[in-house]
């Protein structure tokens, strides 16, 4: 799992690449979100999942944890460019209704 952080319009964008799976990828996402959330108040985070190959239940759990952490601190966490298989996984457990999801980065940034 490779994670690159950049900033635009007071929003921290995390570009994820690889697998968000138990043991490695899930921990990397947790650390990146916690770091980004601690760096701004309130934290506004956009997670770009365009290059995510797969996500398992541990990875889904980390997305939920990130959403809760950021929301509880008065911020917003949104998802960008979900691959179809990631969309399916979030759909199965009805989490697709929890997250705000965008297909266009500028549109996503304007929504914060």
């Amino acid at each position: 799992m490779k994670i690159t952080q950049r900033k635009a319009k007071d929003v921290t964008i995390l570009d994820l690449e690889g697998k968000i799976t138990i043991g490695v990828g899930d921990v990397a996402v947790r650390d990146a979100v916690q770091t980004a959330a601690a760096a701004s108040d309130p934290p506004n985070i956009l997670i770009n999942m365009e290059k995510v190959q797969t996500i398992d239940s541990a990875g889904v759990g980390e997305l939920v944890s990130a959403y809760t952490t950021v929301t509880n601190r008065g911020g917003k966490l949104k998802l960008l460019n979900l691959p179809s298989k990631v969309t399916d996984i979030l759909q199965i457990t009805q989490l697709i209704t929890v997250f705000e999801i965008h297909d266009d980065e500028m549109e996503a940034l304007d929504s914060f």
Binding site: I22, G23, T54, D56, Q91, I92
Partner: protein, 152 residues
């Protein structure tokens, strides 16, 4: 052909560590290509396998000196995976419904639900010495696209 008659193609014994999941998934992926399982189906089987392995390691054995056994059986009709740990067992029906509103934002408890949604059949067997999870999926060739998220 019933699943009990399917010829085993591989039998792996791996250390109870999360890194073992990658190795097992690579072997199973190769076998599924050999039986012409489509890419879409291979992805979902791989994910179900990952969930079963993760449960065996995290909740069954714990990370450490124990082992996880994986048996792969397949013919031209279906694939059957059996994942065995050396843990104390559990009641799969006691796992909370991840779709219940009070559980929707929980950070864990979705693995078995995903397995059941992604595979045609999932069965748990408990015996002294460990738990066995059986995952079964019919072969869907490359032309087939499986809908995994449409039904309740």
């Amino acid at each position: 052909m019933s699943q009990s008659e399917i010829e085993p193609r591989a039998f792996l014994t791996v250390h109870s560590q999360f890194t073992s999941i990658e190795l097992v998934q690579a072997v199973v992926e190769d076998l599924l290509v050999q039986v012409s399982m489509g890419e879409e189906c291979r992805h979902w089987i791989g994910l179900a396998l990952r969930e079963a392995m993760a449960n065996a390691i995290k909740h069954g054995n714990g990370i450490g000196d124990k082992h996880v056994e994986v048996e792969v059986c397949c013919d031209d009709e279906e694939v059957v995976l059996r994942i065995r740990d050396q843990g104390g067992g559990f009641d799969p029906d006691s796992v909370d419904d991840p779709l219940a509103p009070e559980n929707l934002l929980k950070t864990c408890g979705r693995g078995i639900f995903y397995m059941r949604r992604l595979m045609d059949e999932v069965d748990f067997r408990f015996a002294e010495g460990g738990t066995e999870v059986m995952l079964r999926k019919r072969i869907v060739p490359d032309e087939g696209t499986e809908e995994v998220a449409s039904s309740s």
